[in-house]
């Protein structure tokens, strides 16, 4: 897998595909046409043999995602099941030289752990043995660049205050971001702990957010995730490995060339209120069918929505307030795209609360041009989106993701040196 094309399985199929053992095992039943000959043959073999009662289950523990490359892993790589997002603040006396030491340590840890090797001075090396497609992605907040005496891009700042926001300090901002994700929560927990131990001399934890997606082996690779509202979420994403993706996500010039911008917003989902909405109202709110994510104008999940379509009553089939219509800028004549890589969260309700749940989404989006791509979409949704009735952004942070690094380099070296 070369750094520039993390997904080697390029095809016309609009759905992102997830390489790895799972894909091989699924190939026999999920259509092997786009797979390499070898992979297809293996899949076919297995399907012809039928399920052998004694066959060992497919294991995902040994899956690895390359760490070094043109871009950092964890963006244009399939989103694994479990993720921890850490925002760290630099201690007051950490200078530029200290920052470089910190980043060298974190890079070394990440390079080892993602490949299934224990970190240097890892006190639980056995927990590193199953990397489970672990990725570690590093992001810089404005405070870090200031400390490093480097120019802060104009866009690297808190998002404009949107009317829908009810931000809590505890989920906002940060000097340094670590996105740690794998197919296994134990792997993620160990990696996070190891990275935090090496960051401790330089940073304090600002916030920790954990999220989950479907476990491996549950759905065909590349399937669009459903959020806790039951909606297909991410159908419009550019396909991993495509030129389209590169255009949407990767910055092409300047110090962050090969990197991107990242937005992470904690979106509380009012599940109690959602319970009151009937199925028709739910589908109207997004403009898509719950069953398969297809636009209400018809077709399948990836069909182009027909925003001109009107019902017998003369109303737009995909209503003016529908999330899909608003996100696409149909009525403003605009069109921007971002790449979403969200995780769900479901945590205990606050102590003393009568709520039965506290849940939502860690909305994570990557885009080359934060101001030109993300902000207009978010502004439109803040202005009008029926989904806002059941969602509240309670956290928000923006980070600059430096490009990937080669062996012997540290993450962010090209930005900071």
């Amino acid at each position: 897998m070369t750094p520039s094309t993390p997904d080697p399985l390029d095809s016309d199929d609009p759905r992102p595909r997830r390489p790895g053992r799972r894909q091989l095992l699924l190939a026999g039943t999920a259509g092997a046409g786009v797979l390499g000959v070898g992979a297809a043959a293996i899949g076919l073999d297995r399907s012809l043999q039928g399920p052998a009662p004694s066959a060992a289950p497919a294991l995902h523990g040994n899956e690895t995602v390359p760490f070094h490359g043109e871009h950092q892993a964890g963006i244009e790589t399939p989103a694994p099941a479990s993720a921890t997002f850490l925002a760290l603040d630099l201690r007051e006396d950490v200078d530029r030289e200290g920052l470089l030491r910190l980043l060298r340590l974190l890079t070394d840890d990440a390079a080892r752990l993602t490949q299934g090797r224990s970190a240097l001075a890892d006190t639980e090396p056995e927990l590193a043995a199953e990397p489970a497609a672990l990725t570690v992605t590093v992001g810089f907040g404005p405070g870090l660049l200031e400390r490093a005496d480097r120019e802060i891009p104009a866009w690297l700042a808190p998002l404009p205050a949107f009317e829908i926001d009810a931000l809590q300090e505890q989920y906002t901002g940060g000097d340094l971001l670590l996105q740690i994700a794998a197919e296994d929560p134990l792997t993620v927990s160990h990696a996070a702990r190891m990275l935090l131990k090496d960051a401790r001399a330089f940073t304090r934890v600002r916030w920790v957010q954990r999220g989950f997606r479907r476990s491996p082996g549950i759905q065909a690779p590349g399937s669009t995730m459903r959020n806790l509202f039951g909606q297909m979420d991410g159908s419009a994403n550019p396909q991993l490995g495509s030129e389209h993706f590169a255009k949407v996500v990767w910055i092409d010039e300047g110090p962050f060339a090969g990197g991107t911008s990242m937005v992470i917003r904690r979106i509380r989902m009012e599940l109690d209120g959602w319970d009151e909405a009937d199925r028709a109202a739910r589908e109207q709110s997004t403009g898509t069918r719950l069953a398969d994510g297809a636009p209400l104008s018809g077709g399948s999940e990836f069909s182009q929505p027909d925003f001109e379509a009107v019902s017998e009553n003369g109303f737009a089939v995909i209503p003016e307030f529908a999330h899909l219509r608003r996100a696409r800028g149909v009525d403003e004549g605009e069109h921007q795209e971002i790449f979403r890589r969200p995780y769900n969260y479901d945590v205990p309700p606050p102590a003393g609360s009568t709520a039965i749940s506290e849940a939502g989404q860690l909305f994570v989006a990557f885009q080359a041009d934060l101001a030109g791509q993300f902000v207009p979409i978010q502004q439109r949704l803040a202005d009008l989106d029926l989904l806002n009735q059941w969602t509240t952004p309670i956290g928000s942070a923006v980070f600059a993701i430096p490009p990937g690094c080669a062996e012997g380099e540290f993450v962010g070296q090209s930005v900071l040196e």
Binding site: R101, A111, A201, E407
Partner: protein, 207 residues
């Protein structure tokens, strides 16, 4: 980035940080006692006759995953795994480093009261041909004392292994914040009883 560094031999002197970060460093084979034809040299010659690939694998002393516990002052220790691929038995008799003049080789043994104590290893560590010496917290280690300057997390530190037959093997270790390695030191003088690499070491910064 791999922290496995290989040295085919002995060239006292410093390595740049850049070089230390490089995946693999191979230095030309040359004993300090040039032309002496001692055991290590002889076996090296034998191995190189059998092919370049074998020579690379067989003629090296390898230091795998070397690291040093961060310390603000006082003492600390260096760890890692020394793999003797030279084909000859080696005895590690000393370690030198620009970081401090006072370095000792220590072994850790049961102190008879349920704990472990560390003390200087008489005569150094023998590393038979083909075997490895593991230096780790709670076990054998390289003791660094009387640090004139703090060793900060993320620093790269140069050390040189000195073997009994006169060869030297430089390597670079990463300084790591580490809570363990709190072995009690059995001192010759009471002033050194505190573990300078203790619980606050390396938490650096502003604590």
């Amino acid at each position: 980035m791999s922290r496995t560094t290989q040295f085919r031999t002995s060239r006292p002197g410093s390595l740049s940080r850049r070089a230390a970060l490089t995946f693999l460093i191979a230095l030309p084979l040359a004993a300090c006692s040039a032309g002496s034809g001692d055991g290590a040299d002889a076996s090296a010659d034998d191995a190189s006759d059998s092919g370049a690939a074998d020579a690379t694998a067989a003629d090296t002393l390898t230091v795998t995953d070397p690291w040093v516990k961060a310390a603000e002052e006082g003492m600390t220790a260096a760890f890692g795994t020394l793999v003797n691929g030279t084909g000859a038995d080696l005895v590690l008799i000393a370690v030198t480093t620009p970081a401090t003049e006072r370095v000792e080789l220590h072994e850790t043994t049961a102190d008879g009261s349920g704990g472990m104590s560390m003390q200087e290893k008489e005569g150094g560590f023998e590393i038979p041909a083909g075997e490895e010496l593991v230096l780790e917290p709670g076990g054998n280690h390289i003791m660094l004392m009387d640090l004139p300057q703090p060793l900060l997390p993320g620093d790269e530190m140069e050390l040189t292994l000195v073997f009994s037959e006169g060869t030297e093997h430089p390597f670079t270790a990463t300084v790591k914040d580490f809570a363990g390695a709190q072995e009690h030191y059995v001192p010759e003088d009471a002033e050194n009883t505190s573990d300078g690499g203790g619980e606050h070491a390396g938490h650096g910064a502003d604590e």
